[in-house]
Amino acid sequence: MAAAALTLDGVRKGFTRGGRRVSALDGVSIAVRPGRVTGLIGPDGAGKTTLMRLAAGILGPDAGRIEVLGIDVAEDPLAVQSAVGYMPQRFGLYEDLSVQENLDLYADLQGVPRAARRARYDELMRMTGLAPFTRRLAGRLSGGMKQKLGLACTLVRPPRLLLLDEPTVGVDPVSRRELWAIVYAQVREAGMTVLLSTAYLDEAARCAEVILLHQGRVLGQEAPAAFSGPLAGRTFEMRVEGIPARRLQARLADVAGIVDALVAGDRVRIVTAPGFVPDPARLLPDHPEARLQPVPPDFEDAFIARLKDHDGHHRPPPQVTVKVSGSAGDEVIRVEGLERRFGDFRAVKGISFRVRRGEIFGLLGANGAGKTTTFRMLCGLLPASGGELAVAGHDLRRSGAQARARIGYMAQRFSLYANLTVMQNLAFFAAAYGLRRQRRRERLRWALEGFELGAYRDVNAGLLPLGYKQRLAFAAALMHQPEILFLDEPTSGVDPLARREFWARTNALAEAGVTALVTTHFMEEANYCDRLVIMAEGEILAAGRPYEIRQRARTVENPEPTMEDAFIALVQGREAAS
């Protein structure tokens, strides 16, 4: 076996945050083998970014030894930095420079000889598909294109070790596939070593080897298939006529012996504890016809099972009570020919859809598809340029405060007061929604307990780990028990465990009659929705139940298409038509 391209030996690193010492890496020892793609996965706050920055020589470890391409980082960080290509989560593109100028700048910074540039540029532009846009300002590229340009700038001088920190977060599925193709081409053709952290488990499954990091410790380093080995015979799918998958999932998730239950389209996928033999008749005594179908384990099953083994079982989400007026099935949101123009640019081009009470309704699409604009119009934050919209019978832009008291809103970015504590944030929103005395105390207790925020009560919200920020934002949006929830990219950047927890809560809310409108760019999350629309460039490409939309992409070669396959087929079909 060739010498490792990157070795960490007993590495520790801690930070001081708001007066407390936080350990980011706690004795990490790994070896990344050369000439292949190694995935680094783990929940938020596991220490992925810290590990990347240590390997790039940007940070120094508190203890332990890091060797990159045979160089000790502590001894010669400059030599390491020049041999390594590092692309941070938010790559430093100069938005006011053109694509070409950005490339030139990074070529200058990395000392690429002028003679070698032309050929390298051509190659990179061809791979990234950015060749027609070299004169465009980087700030005007779409999210996916920006990310590809960032990768191109990192690769201007081919590094021997490429470190990519969550390169595909927020990128549309088509660009995501292209990014992967570029990375693999580098490994194949130039023998590059790649270490890549990701929040998408399907991406981790594509890596040659995966390092699982959790709370600053390595939980395992194996090929993805080897991770799922111990799960053989423990994964099943279940479908019962007459019980919606979501409700079935909620029932199964509470059963002792079931480690994980996940909605997968119209079925529920379960992972059982070792030695537990599920019996449909026992699980669902009221549905004798229920059948369990054994399925091969996949990487995500293994990831979740391993994290849950480590953390113990998560508590079920808190009980939610809402006063919902009207009956299930009433039309709660109505959008008719909705349009929004910004100057000449039509961000939303006359879309129509309806949402019924108690539904989870998804708005799916890549960044820039018009989801957020639609969303802001529905919440009354942006006036529509044309068309009609009604939320619970009101146009929130024109109606009074009482109508707004019935909705809960969670913005795309974390949008609570960063330098106020958790408790101060919650208390403020309780007051803003007019909760007083007994009810205010009750709701505050509910939020702290139900969202397990008690330990962070007096911590500034800005210093919380990402998953807890999201919990806090969700708790704040639910303080006043709204009957309609607007959730804009609620799971963006959140790890799989927190994502499940979020969806479990949202499911429970929907069961209680709350209507939820959710935007997401995680295609697989569409399975949690009752109905959804897929948006691209301000138009609705498809609308319907998740199952129906996936069926449209069904081909002979791919009889079980995923939502991502369906999305790509729709986008490509649209491009072919135009």
Binding site: R376, L382, S415, Y417, Q424, F428, A432, G434
Partner: protein, 369 residues
């Protein structure tokens, strides 16, 4: 006041005071500006460097020179013996004024004739030169009068008996420091309020606020309250220092001063929130605040009299709330003005405050970005 508006104001205070950078904005500028204006900025000339070219060496000449040297306004830094020495001293700005006594100065005076005296001034800063000259004239006037009395000569035909009302010593601190109350309060209030909405837009919390049942008018009040409270505290701090530390007399009714202050703060908060509602980032908000502040200070009459400005510019000063408040604060401090005399300053500030607050509230929901 409704409970949820108080909660919003409380949140504003917390957001402001828990952020170290905002705390500096509240404490730094008042202290720095008090030092700058309280000590450094003055219209009075003190210790003007002077050179004496005395060809006379007689007793009368020596007496006059002693008077100049003894004045707190002048400091004799050089004595010349030849005429060629004058030019280099003035050119190098070593002295502002050269006093030249001719060879017959004392002799002429003794004879009872009038004795010419030459003053050579550096005219590059005309204002300073005029001031130095007028100090010199005052000294000369005293000298003449005393000389006449001592030598039994008839007194000069007309004698100016001067008395400055409101500021007997003509100490320019009495003029400047009450003005700082207005200037500093404006700076701090404007920056604090200009940042408040912009900070929320930048952090994405403003949308979250707009979807709550709080009405724009309630958000406006909640955001204006902290600015008013902080502005009042800042102003009180400077007023107390002005009286106790700088010894400026507070002759009028403090109630009339605070009535003017609250109307002034209302307009400052309104303009600050207007800037904040337009700005998308905190950086834009701070820039916007200073874009307003600089002309507002220059046009207020803080340093240069409004009456000296061209007429068109004088009309513009009517839009400047600081203009009115400076009249109020100087009036109450030095003249002892009461409510009735200041009424004409109160109502324009009330109108500016009302209009700017209304605009800010409208912009909260209608500003597109």
């Amino acid at each position: 006041m409704p409970w949820h508006i108080l909660a919003l104001a409380l949140k504003e205070f917390r957001a402001l005071l828990r952020d170290p950078r905002s705390r500096i904005v509240l404490i730094g500028p008042p202290i720095a500006q008090l030092i700058v204006f309280g000590y450094a900025a003055t219209f009075d000339l003190n210790h003007v460097p002077v050179a004496i070219y005395d060809e006379d060496a007689g007793g009368a000449g020596r007496e006059l020179i002693a008077r100049v040297a003894g004045s707190p306004h002048f400091e004799v830094v050089a004595r010349l013996t030849r005429e060629a020495g004058i030019a280099p001293l003035i050119d190098d700005k070593a002295v502002l004024l050269v006093l030249h006594l001719g060879p017959r100065f004392s002799a002429d005076l003794q004879r009872g004739a009038s004795a010419p005296l030459q003053a050579i001034l550096d005219g590059r800063n005309s204002n300073t030169a005029m001031l130095a000259l007028s100090y010199l004239r005052t000294i000369l006037l005293d000298f003449n009068r005393d000389w006449a009395a001592r030598h039994g000569r008839p007194a000069p035909p007309a004698v100016l008996q001067m008395r400055a009302w409101y500021n007997a010593d003509l100490d320019s601190h009495w003029f400047i420091i009450p003005g700082i109350v207005g200037l500093l309060t404006l700076v701090v209030t404007l920056v604090v309020t200009a940042l408040s909405v912009a900070r929320e837009r930048e952090q994405g919390t403003f949308d979250q606020l707009l979807v709550t049942p709080l009405r724009p008018v309630e958000i406006l009040i909640g955001k204006a309250l902290p600015g008013m409270v902080i502005g009042t505290l800042e102003a009180t701090f400077i007023i107390v220092l002005a009286v106790l530390w700088f010894g400026i007399p507070l002759r009028g009714d403090p109630g009339a001063l605070y009535a003017g202050l609250s109307l002034f703060l209302l307009s400052a908060v309104g303009i600050g929130l207007m800037i904040s509602a337009i700005a998308v980032t905190q950086q834009q908000a701070v820039l916007g605040a200073f874009l307003f502040l600089v002309p507002a200070v220059i046009l207020s009459g803080f340093a240069t009299p409004i009456a000296n400005m061209p007429e068109v510019v004088q009309w513009i000063t009517y839009l400047d709330p600081l203009r009115y408040f400076l009249i109020v604060v100087r009036g109450v401090f030095l003249e002892g003005d009461g409510y009735a005399l200041l009424l004409d300053q109160y109502w324009p500030m009330a109108i500016i405050g009302g209009l700017s607050l209304a605009t800010a509230g409208w912009l909260f929901r209608h500003r597109m970005y």
